[in-house]
């Protein structure tokens, strides 16, 4: 089924048209990468999809529903999660508390104010489980700001997964990572279950080609090309915008 459908989406800021009549369809289970040079509009597109920006025109459908007018938290409730290009975590809270907020986000208990969170065994166990399965358990009580940059980029992904999304948006997850860390992150993303459709923005083409099966190329807010790995690699227009 079509997980994400974008029709004729446009977004302008003052005189600048960041996104121009972009149309896109993503099917369930896909691994899609959106690439393009700086300023192509990739992060703007993510912001539009996740609801942090509203389009000037066009429509966005998530899981068959028209979400064009919905606010970010309403879209998240439908099953979409994202990571941020600039690490966006709860710096003064511990690692455990960070993931906890992700885990409780999808539960009714998140409004509970008369019981300590420790009394919600299921939430605590699930947070513990997530941290253990990502090999982060030893640092559970470390304030997030004391974790290394690479660890924080990992936490970005874990946090998004904590909400059990059906669609995952990864905004330059490997940004600023050393080669070894990048390899680790890539293998983690590749091992994600197929129930989670994944869209990836990447600046690093190697990472994008490693993870994705289908590529969409953006240039100046337009879709320049779309296709499989081979098609894109062999497309002269694509090579041109990166070199020219």
């Amino acid at each position: 089924m079509t997980v994400l459908s974008i029709q004729d989406l446009s977004k302008g800021f003052g005189g600048l048209q960041a996104i121009q009549k972009v149309s896109l369809e993503i099917e369930a289970g896909e691994r899609r990468a959106i690439i393009g040079p700086n300023g192509a509009g990739k992060t703007t597109l993510f912001n539009l999809i996740s609801g942090f920006l509203f389009p000037s025109s066009g429509e966005i459908h998530l899981f068959g529903r028209d979400v064009t007018k919905l606010r970010p938290h309403q879209r998240s409730a439908l099953g979409i999660a994202r990571t941020f290009q600039l690490t966006n975590l709860f710096q003064k809270l511990t690692l455990f508390e960070n993931i906890l907020l992700g885990v409780q986000a999808t539960r009714g208990a998140r409004y509970s104010f008369y019981r300590p969170v420790k009394s919600y065994g299921e939430i605590i166990r699930e947070t513990e489980h997530l941290l253990k399965s990502w090999d982060l358990w030893e640092k559970w009580d470390v304030p997030l700001k004391n974790l290394s940059y690479g660890e924080q980029r990992q936490v970005e992904v874990v946090m998004a997964l904590a909400t059990k999304p059906r669609l995952l948006l990864l905004d330059e997850p490997a940004a600023g990572l050393a080669p070894a860390e990048t390899t680790l992150l890539v293998s983690i993303i590749k091992s994600l279950p197929r129930e989670i459709t994944t869209i990836l923005i990447e600046h690093d083409m190697d990472v994008a080609f490693e993870i994705a099966e289908k590529i969409t190329v953006l240039h100046f807010g337009n879709v320049l090309a779309e296709g499989s790995l081979e098609e894109i690699k062999g497309n002269p227009k694509v090579t041109e915008i990166y070199l020219g």
């Binding site: 609801g51 970010p72 019981r115 300590p116």
Partner: protein
Amino acid sequence: MKAAQIFKGKFVLLLLLAVPFLALPSFVSNYYVGLVIQILITAIFAMSLDILVGYTGLPSMGHAAYFGVAAYATGFLYFAGFNNFWVVFVVGLGVGGFTAALFGLLAIRARGPYFMLITLALSQVLWGIAFKWRSVTKGDDGLPGIKRPEIGMGVDLIPDPHFYYFTCAIFLIVFFALYILVHSPFGYALRGIRESESRMKSLGYNVWLYKYIAFIFAGAFAGMSGVLWVYYSGFVNPSNLGIDLSVRGLLMLILGGAGTMFGPAIGAAIIVLLENIVSGLTERWSLILGIIYVVVIMLFSEGITSIVKKVSRD
């Protein structure tokens, strides 16, 4: 888990502190007992403000509004013949929460300095209304002569030591309630909002709603302190809605440490003691306090509790 040990540690600390608190009236004069009553009531006010400032990251500037409307409600109810503490207490917290519900609708959409401006303006208008509406509020003269309330069970609150123990009990209940609130899923969500609203939104939290509910809670708890204050001092007047009350509250959080359980109470103790000492020494106490405020703000960005935390961690 370590958390249980920390909770036990704080609990033990509380028990140790309890001894001098319980013994206090036997050792010192009514003046000092009154001082501690003031500190406890002010601490409740500061803790209510901390929900917004320290935990949610909302710099609320007009917090006296909720304290003051509950104070006036207490006064009006008294002169209408209602002297039962429990009834008035519930009305006070209801009125405080309701005012916060109204103001919150207008203020929460704004961010940062705009939010501060709006909350300040709204509470200042209330202050102005209390000042001018002489036929109802008696303006600047206020409503004096409010006696201690009945709490039933044959207990008489007129002697200060009795009111003191009563206030201690209420303080402990409020402290405990806030402890639960702050450590509940809701409380953690507030902290998340303080750290990053966009992250919380992308996780699926309705950030506006959380802020709004926090605002109402803060208003209700502030209302509680307003009721207690009027019964202690016997008097309501426009200064209960005044900007200096709101600012004092914020200063307490800066001094004691915002976003901590004991910080607001520590800050309240420091400010109340300071004001009492200085006003006893000189007629120019307002000038001295102003200078002290300026110095404190220039020196303390974080607050004592977080400085202590930093030192103990290193």
